[in-house]
């Protein structure tokens, strides 16, 4: 069974590759991917805590609090979580674009092909 570290392959360019520029961009690509994974972990933690955490697992406990006339748990499950989902997607789109520019892998310069 092979235990080669495939996930790190991009940091060890093949010996045939003499292009320094390429090596640099491969390094950038790997660091970009790590940064992306960290951002994803943060946002998905919020996604999980809100929907499965507050909306399902803790819903009965949260229902003891009142929020604008609603029981809090009920409100999160039927309203609040949905608003946060929308926000999470836009936050990701915004943050990841900053990270992309930082590592030079953004698609800002690309135009629609039409």
């Amino acid at each position: 069974m092979s235990e080669q570290p495939y996930e790190h392959q991009s940091e060890n360019p093949s010996p045939h590759d003499h292009n320094d520029q390429k090596t640099l961009s491969q390094k950038n690509a790997a660091s970009y991917w790590q940064a992306n994974l960290r951002l994803l972990a943060k946002l998905l933690a919020i996604w999980f805590a809100l929907s499965f955490g507050c909306g399902i697992l803790l819903v009965d406990w949260l229902d003891q609090f009142t929020f604008f006339g609603f029981k809090l748990g009920f409100w999160i499950a039927q309203q609040g979580a949905i608003y946060v989902f929308v926000a999470l997607i836009f936050i990701y789109a915004w943050r990841i674009q900053i990270i992309e520019r930082q590592y030079g892998v953004d698609d800002d310069a690309e135009e629609s092909s039409v």
């Binding site: 929907s51 399902i56 309203q79 092909s113």
Partner: protein, 563 residues
């Protein structure tokens, strides 16, 4: 003008609009047909995705289901919106970067295997046809009640319209008609919701209205009054659940992961120009969807309150007009068990009123006594919701047949022109099969909705996710995972729904998880097996690993597209 005439007018005008758009946006190439040329603006694509996603189930059935399930209805609200977070963060941008035409395209190339591609096509066709059957039932209900034509005629008219823009225009025609359909359906959903919210609470915003006090001087909020009324009648409290927590968890998860794995939604993100657009587009899509999804629970509580108020202990002689309108369709019924001439509505055996939950949204404007044009608008909205989703589903079915089955597997020698012709033929055949489903609805339609989401969650979602986030999962692992997820979920649902329906209750379920939620377990098994099996076989070849490296980087999508 009579309500019926108005309905003809509204539905007819909306059909004319869709056909006009279809003629204007005919597809000239396979790229037009499959991905609308790849140049759709993210906001436009978001709106089209919202219409694609919000089906007859969302428009017609969801509020009704919630109104009878109370807090347990949250599984649909959370599941069908939370899936978009996964879609936007984990799948859509990478599939866009991959930049081909279909979901099986990705699975076939990433797992360098025709078998994997075929397994994906089978999952896709099964999921999509299950879903289409439900749309056709929705079209049938709307036509039989509002236009008072035979269900057959209604379905044939609906099919003819879809045929026009799906077969002629492909993805390009579908995209622009879906934008129009979104506008029709959201307007049709919001107008009665706002009216009813004002009537019951005095607050014009339904999302706030259902937390406000009822405008009857009782000082109780809508939900408090509803809890009180329902527990008096022997139902559980509206704001408390009756399902077990583990089952609610599993159902929500199956719906979420299933949503993210539905091919007709995923393929919409192949149509935007670049990767960053795919992410934004998913955000717009969910924002457009959220308008309806945050209104639905409000409509649900208003509808239930209205229903109890107008029906319970009313004499049948004085039954409101809507009651007899819907009695004709057989979706509402009354049986005078104690011969007192009054309609008793309760949870016990003395209940005399039966109400199909599918009619709650459609009947709501009538229950609330709204003007005729609102009722006509709701009919047009229901048809728009059903047709837009049907068209999206028919497109992924036809493209998986013409592109994945014929061009990529069986007949690689065909030209682009021939492929386009096959795509149109496949779309036409799929339209006819869907029409048959609508005219002769298989008895199991309502029961197999769990299939579509469960199977998408257990088969397609993990294969795509692992294809992007792992370089080690190889074709053996992915195929084993997809097959196990598919067979396990399929067997569990078939066993409890068809083989032994009498055992379909919590004490017999595995881990207390209902067939609706089992797709979540299927997904976990799929992922576990994919990793496990992959370790025993060689890792994917270097060019596949390069492909994964490539799709992880956003830049270069517009160039990759012209392959």
């Amino acid at each position: 003008m009579s309500t019926q005439l108005l309905t003809y007018l509204f539905v007819g005008a909306s059909f004319a609009l869709y056909i006009g758009i279809a003629i204007w946006s005919r597809a000239g190439s396979t790229k037009d047909f499959y991905v609308a040329g790849g140049g759709v603006h993210p906001v436009v694509n978001g709106m089209a995705t919202a219409a694609d996603w919000m089906s007859a189930a969302s428009f017609i059935s969801m509020a009704g289901i919630i109104s009878f399930m109370g807090r347990d209805g949250s599984v649909y609200l959370l599941g069908w919106t939370g899936g978009y977070v996964l879609l936007a963060l984990l799948l859509a941008p990478y599939l866009r970067k991959f930049g081909r035409f279909t979901v099986p395209d990705f699975i076939g190339e990433r797992y360098y295997s025709k078998t994997a591609r075929i397994v994906a096509v089978i999952c896709l066709i099964f999921v999509s046809f299950t879903y289409v059957a439900g749309q056709m039932r929705g079209v049938g209900i709307v036509f039989s009640r509002f236009l008072e034509v035979e269900v057959e005629t209604g379905v044939i008219i609906g099919m003819a319209v879809v045929f026009m823009y799906a077969v002629l225009g492909g993805m390009k025609g579908i995209t622009y008609t879906q934008v129009a359909q979104y506008c029709v359906l959201i307007f049709a959903y919001m107008v009665p919701a706002i009216f009813i919210s004002i009537m019951i609470t005095g607050n014009p915003i339904p999302q706030l209205g259902f937390g406000s006090e009822v405008a009857d001087g009782s000082g109780l909020s809508v939900l408090e009054k509803l809890d009180g009324l329902l527990s008096d009648l022997g139902f559980g409290n509206y704001t408390e659940g009756s399902k077990s927590t583990i089952d609610v968890f599993a159902i929500t998860a199956a719906l979420m992961f299933g949503t993210a794995g539905l091919p007709h939604v995923l393929v919409r993100f192949f149509t935007v120009p670049k990767v960053s657009d795919a992410r934004k587009s998913a955000g717009y899509a969910l924002a457009f969807i959220a308008i309806l999804y945050t209104t639905a629970p409000a409509v649900a509580s208003f509808a239930r309150l209205n229903l109890v108020d107008t029906v319970h202990n009313t004499s049948y002689e004085q039954a409101p007009q809507w009651f007899s309108n819907w009695e004709n369709t057989g979706l509402v019924g009354w049986q005078d068990k104690n011969n007192d001439g009054l309609m008793q509505y309760s949870a016990g055996t003395d209940n005399e009123v039966t109400i199909d939950r599918d009619i709650m949204v459609l009947a709501n404007p009538e229950i609330a006594d709204l003007p005729g044009w609102v009722i006509a608008l709701v009919a047009a909205g229901g048809v728009a919701a059903a047709l837009s989703t049907a068209a999206g589903l028919l497109l992924v079915i036809s493209s998986s047949v013409s592109h994945d089955l014929l061009k990529q597997t069986l007949m690689p020698a065909i030209t682009e022109k021939q492929e386009l012709l096959f795509a149109r033929i496949a779309a036409a055949v799929a339209v006819c099969i869907a029409g048959l489903f609508g005219i002769y609805p298989p008895a199991f339609v309502a029961q197999v909705v769990a299939f579509a989401f469960g199977l998408a969650a257990a088969s397609l979602f993990p294969a795509i996710l692992l294809g992007i986030f792992s370089k080690r999962v190889n074709k053996e692992g992915a195929i084993a995972g997809m097959l196990l997820g598919l067979v396990f979920t399929f067997s569990y649902i078939v066993y409890f729904k068809f083989v032994s329906p009498e055992l379909n209750s919590a004490e017999h379920w595995w881990l207390g998880i209902s067939p609706e939620g089992i797709g979540f377990i299927g997904m976990l098994l799929n992922i576990g097996v994919a990793f496990g099996v992959s370790r025993f076989y060689a890792p994917p070849p270097a060019e596949v690993q390069n492909l994964v490296d490539n799709i992880r980087i956003p830049s270069g999508a517009a160039i990759a597209q012209s392959h």
